[in-house]
C-alpha cells in the first residue's frame, strides 16, 4: 500500500510569492496556521504574512518597538483572533478586525 507523491504544478509568478525568504525579518523556523477562509498565516521574526490559498500575498503585519523577541508560534482562535507566542514567555492576542496602521 504505497502512494507516490508527485509535483503536479509548474512554477508561476503568482506562486513565486510563496517564497517567504524575500520578506524582511521573516527568518526560519516559521510558524503557520490556516483560518476558516483557507488563508494561510506565516509568522517568523517580527512579521506575520498572510496568503490566500491560491498563493496571493494579502498582507504583512509587523511588530514594532514593544515587541522585543521573535515570534515562536502563532495560532488562530475561533473568532479570528490571532494568538502570538513570543520568546519572552508571553502571548499576544490581536483582534484581526482591528485596522492596523499602514507604514
Amino acid at each position: 500500500m504505497t502512494l507516490t507523491a508527485e509535483t503536479v504544478l509548474e512554477i508561476t509568478s503568482e506562486q513565486a510569492k510563496y517564497h517567504l525568504g524575500d520578506h524582511k525579518n521573516l527568518v526560519g523556523p516559521s510558524a503557520i496556521d490556516i483560518d476558516q477562509n483557507g488563508d494561510i498565516y506565516i509568522g517568523g521574526g517580527k512579521q506575520i504574512l498572510v496568503f490566500s490559498n491560491n498563493g496571493r500575498h494579502l498582507r504583512t503585519m509587523t511588530f514594532k518597538g514593544h515587541f522585543y523577541s521573535w515570534i515562536k508560534d502563532i495560532a488562530l482562535g475561533l473568532n479570528s483572533e490571532l494568538f502570538v507566542l513570543s520568546g519572552s514567555k508571553s502571548i499576544y492576542v490581536i483582534d484581526d478586525s482591528v485596522d492596523l496602521i499602514a507604514f
Binding site: M1, T2, L3, T4, A5, E6, T7, V8, L9, I11, Q15, A16, Y18, H19, L20, G21, K24, G28, P29, S30, A31, I32, D33, I34, G38, I40, I42, F51, N53, G55, R59, T60, M61, T62, F63, K64, H66, F67, K72, D73, A75, L76, G77, L78, E81, F83, L85, S88, K89, S90, I91, Y92, V93, I94, D95, V98, L100, I101, A102, F103
Partner: protein
Amino acid sequence: MNKSQHLTSISTLLKFLKMDLINRVIDKEAELILPDQIKRYYFFKSGSFEKLWITAGNLCLVEPNSFQYYVLNESELIENTKNSRRRGGYPVFEATESTLFEGIPNKWSNNSFALFNFGRGIDFQPYFVAKSGEIAFNRTDAIMNKKAMQLDLKELLPTEIKMGFSDILAHNIISAGDNNKLYVFASREFKNVIERQVNGKLREIYSEKFICVFNNKGKYVGLIDSIPQDLVYETSIAGTENQYATSPQHQLHYLHTTGNTDNLSNCKSYVTRWH
C-alpha cells in the same frame, strides 16, 4: 572635536540614514501592530514554550524541554489571570495543577527518552518523538487521569519498512484533524561508498523521505513516499485535509490528500512546492 572625528560622526550618521531609508522601502507594504491594537497580553511566570495551538476554544502550550504542556480554555485563562499579579500592567499567568500535563509515560525517565521532535497530534494534545522512534502521547480519554500512552513505530510499521529501522527518524507529526489520521514525517537514509580512482573514496549518502500514516487507534494504514527532500525538514504544519508546511528554506509546501482516508490505496496524494 577634530576634523577626523567630525568626518567619522558624519559617516556614522549617513550610514544610519541609509539603513533607515532601506528599512522604510522594504517595509513599504507592512502594517504596524501597535501596543493599543493588541487586545490582550499574557505574561507567563515560568516556562519555555515552543509551540502554541488552538482547537475548539482550547489553547495548548507545549514546553518540550520538560516534556510538559498546558491545556487551557480561553475563559479559564482570563479567569486565572484576572486577580493575579501584574507586570507592566499586564496579567501574569501561573500554571495550576489542573492545566499542567506530563507529556511522557512515567516509565520513561528523561534520561532514557531522548527527545527528537514533537508536534500536534490527533486529539489536540502534543506528541513527543524520541530518537528511538517511539512516540509518547496522551489520548483525550486519558487526559482526566493524566496517564500518557506510547506508540512504538517499530511495532506498528509493516515488515518492509521495519528493515533498517535504526536509520529511520521521525521528523515531525501532522495533526490529521477531521479525518483522524496521524501523519509522521520520517527519513530513511541509505549509505553507499563509491570508490573513485581520481578522488579516492567519495562517500555518497542517499536519503529516502516518506510519510507514515496511522489512524487514531495507532494502526498503520499506509505510506506516502518519494517526498521531496526539503519537505521532510518542515518546521511547522497546519491544516486538516489540506496540509501546509513551511521549510527552513523559506518555502511553503502544500500536501493534499483526497479520497477515502480509511484506505489510502484509494487516495490520490501529491505534493506541490512553490519556489
